[in-house]
Amino acid sequence: MELLERFAAGDLEAFEALFRQHQKEVYFWIVRIVRDSGIAEDLTVETFWRIYRARDRFHPAGNFRAWARKIATNAALDHLRTARREIELPEDLASAGAADPAVRHETREQIKQAFFQLPAKYRLVATLALIEEEPYDKIAEAVGISEALVKVRVFRGVRILRKKLNSLGAEVGAK
């Protein structure tokens, strides 16, 4: 019996094999949304917990990777909805990338503040599309909405951000 069939039938060893195959990829996807390594680890486990509970609904001929990413996205979105908006970036990930030193600290703080105030569904797509530069079709599949709706959410998120930043007195390039 194939691995996915055994998993769907409730075989724990098959589940462990799938977990080990996909945990890094799921973590990688989640950490780019929540931007906190500890939370991303917890959400990776939560994702596989949801996967295990939903194994009856998984069709062995289906795409496990895409299914796992969709569940991971939902788990991350649930976290964004419940987490405090003013959460600070942890030092490890805040300094992991090369933020432009030319951009003043104050401006970066204003951007973060405005970004964390975005509704979770806009923040999710804005993070993936604008910061991580994931293609719209991949985001659409992961979120479970159409590509057109992803574009609409990015557009609305940008509009809200621009308003907030303008009210905070930050300089925003394009109108």
Partner: protein, 74 residues
């Protein structure tokens, strides 16, 4: 104005505030944590227990006087 143009300024600002995570590493194996979560799975109530609870509720509804007798025997 296209979406791309509309997003451009904000995109640059966001990438300066939150630099893209190029290659975040998973620092440990999460399987032990997964096993712990699986072992915490709440015990499922069997259909027999549900049936007993339903019968008891029905008896108490039909014969409220039995409540006192039941409490006496508890």
């Amino acid at each position: 104005m296209s979406n791309e143009e509309n997003n451009k300024g904000i995109k640059e600002l966001l990438q300066q505030a939150f630099a893209p995570l190029k290659d975040p590493e998973l620092r440990r194996d999460l399987w032990p944590q997964m096993l712990q979560k699986l072992s915490q799975q709440p015990a499922r109530v069997s259909w027999f227990d549900w049936a007993l609870a339903a019968i008891l509720s029905a008896v108490l509804l039909l014969f409220p006087g039995a409540i006192l007798a039941l409490l006496y025997h508890l």
